[in-house]
Symmetry: C2
Subunit: 364 residues, 2 copies
């Protein structure tokens, strides 16, 4: 293992210390418990957005803290959920009196800990709701998940909901919007190489010289299928066809319904919410997100984007916005993920709104 | 070799096609000869800035075309200089009547071809000057270079000079500024792994499991020294000490003078210009640029930044701006480079000015 790190156990903390020094105008970092928060938090009267999850996916989430996106992010150790005490401390630090929205990727540890954090927040008189992201169409039920995993749509939901909160949406409006982003987003990924968790020191899985793994998640957990190496266009076509009609989708995504638990504020209890993805249709407007898993150069991502755009055009889908680069990684893994998010006017406007974070910035 | 590409010979073109589709609002791509240019070019009355070089370093240069940075970029094949006909065609396309500045990294092929392009431009009545970037303190004279190589400072010079041109600086003012940026910038890099040029299909060099190479360039050409793997802090300290006092520098950088050829418009001929780097001094204000070579995750870059900031603070140097991420890469190489640029008020203001390109954007 060759990495620019010191002791593996210190990696997350030392990296955050670097972020804190580099971006003192935007963020601050609290240690014990660990969370990253907006330098100007709490913003009074604004809904605060908090996300979090295992580290090793940078810039997500810590690089997305700042104006127009997250109020706080709770990083766990590498590929390990943060704890409820981190989430509660972040919650208390950024609460501006208008409530907290937790954006939670669907991994069992994250889900459980954010549930506990939310109940703790409630017990301290802080309003909080949470929305689950479960956009990975590759598989249901993985090593770390019941249901579908939460992947690329998370980044898009953080941007869109962050803008909404900045513009004065109330807690229920932001939560409803986040739920809508989730059911309109679909993702799938491919690994060309594994990644090495520093504390372990050896690759999480082994791929042969001519093998790739389709349908991977973001922790090196198994994907859907291991196949022989193909051209960039062929790989993109496989991934895109899991997302686009007419063949979509491996999981019958066109009618994928599931029940998720959400806190109902009026009833004061957890209730079941049914979510349903609707198939993409001709003339839908999309945000296309081509994401590096960490070790894939941007020039390759553009080659993937080229083929993706061609397929979308064939299908009558309009890509009206895109995001291309390393935003949700698995350490140094080579490979990429593709997310297609169906946009409506409101989501489009919020996507375009100013954002100023260490790793996503425009308009300011 | 596993990459998201099709035929190696088509990689550069197909990647550019993806960029063209993704960023049609910002850039256009011309093929045969190949160059990327601002969608709104020519900007009448503005000095046009053109750079270029081998591909495989993305986002540099093609990702830096747009308002406030480059007017055009000429990408060669992977690690191969672009040709004078590409540069001439780009020149004619973006010439807004106020002259052209070529920003040229010091690699023999680039230097020779930009010289030819400039003479061709002159013969067609277009004013053009060129400034060489030779900021790599690790070594003089490499496989591809006479003198020092041009590395990280190039990105900073493109941003600063692009802003100056946008603000109405004339050709000589932009050229003088670019020369000043170059002599105030210093860079050094380290490789933890090699990279694989698609047409070759095997790694350019081989590093052992516990070896790293210090003082590498951006083409997999040999570095200064191959040493055993060290901690992130130790590696950062070695690199930083090549850039900062008191030990600076390997190349006696504190008094590094050299003679470079520049076109003198008044005399109508090439003249020798003497350049001299001055040592960094206490209370100097710096822009610190920690750059991924392509395969190193951003969390590791922040760990490097943390140690770099600590060393600069010890030395009384003030980091007032930073840039951290993959901006000048060597395909999927793991490793990083550090650039320290001494800023003056003018450079600082120009750095902060709005920029809108595919890969660097703020303020708009």
């Amino acid at each position: 293992m060759k990495k620019l790190i010191n002791q593996p156990a210190d990696f997350v903390r030392e990296s955050l210390e670097g972020m804190a020094v580099a971006h003192a105008d935007l963020i601050q970092v609290n240690y014990e418990p660990t969370f990253v928060y907006r330098a100007d938090a709490p913003v009074q009267g604004k809904v605060a957005i908090i996300s979090g999850g295992g580290s090793g996916h940078e810039p997500m989430h810590v690089g997305f803290v700042g104006r127009g996106m997250l109020d706080a992010a709770c990083p766990g150790e590498i590929f390990t959920s943060p704890t409820p005490d981190q989430m509660l401390a972040a919650t208390k630090r950024v609460d501006g009196g208008a409530g907290i929205l937790y954006i939670v990727k669907n991994y069992s540890g994250d889900v459980m800990n954010f549930e506990m954090a939310m109940e703790l927040a409630h017990s301290q008189g802080i309003r909080a709701l949470s929305i689950l992201i479960d956009d990975d169409v590759a598989m249901k039920d993985s090593l770390f998940t019941q249901g579908r995993r939460g992947v690329g749509t998370t980044v898009l939901a953080e941007k869109i909901c962050g803008a909404a909160a900045e513009q004065g949406y109330d807690l229920h409006q932001v939560a409803d919007l986040c739920r809508r982003v989730n059911v309109h987003g679909r993702s799938v990924g491919v690994a060309l190489s594994s990644c090495t968790v520093p504390a372990k020191g050896t690759p999480t899985f082994v791929l042969g010289n001519r093998e790739i793994e389709l349908g991977i998640g973001i922790h090196g957990e198994p994907g859907t299928e291991r196949v022989s190496m193909k051209s960039g266009d062929e790989i993109t076509e496989i991934l895109a066809r899991w997302l686009c009609p007419p063949q979509a989708s491996l999981l019958d995504d066109t009618t994928y319904s599931r029940t998720v638990k959400e806190w109902n504020e009026t009833k004061g209890k957890w209730v079941d919410i049914e979510l349903l993805n609707k198939p993409l249709q001709k003339s839908d407007r999309l945000l296309a997100f081509v994401n590096s898993m960490g070790g894939t150069p941007i020039a390759e991502l553009y080659l993937v984007y080229r083929k993706l755009a061609e397929i979308c055009e064939q299908e009558g889908l309009q890509i009206v916005r895109n995001l291309i680069g390393p935003y949700m990684t698995s350490l140094e893994m080579q490979g990429c993920s593709i997310t297609l998010l169906k946009l409506d006017d409101e989501m489009l406007k919020l996507w375009d709104a100013p954002v100023k974070t260490p790793s996503l910035r425009w308009g300011v």
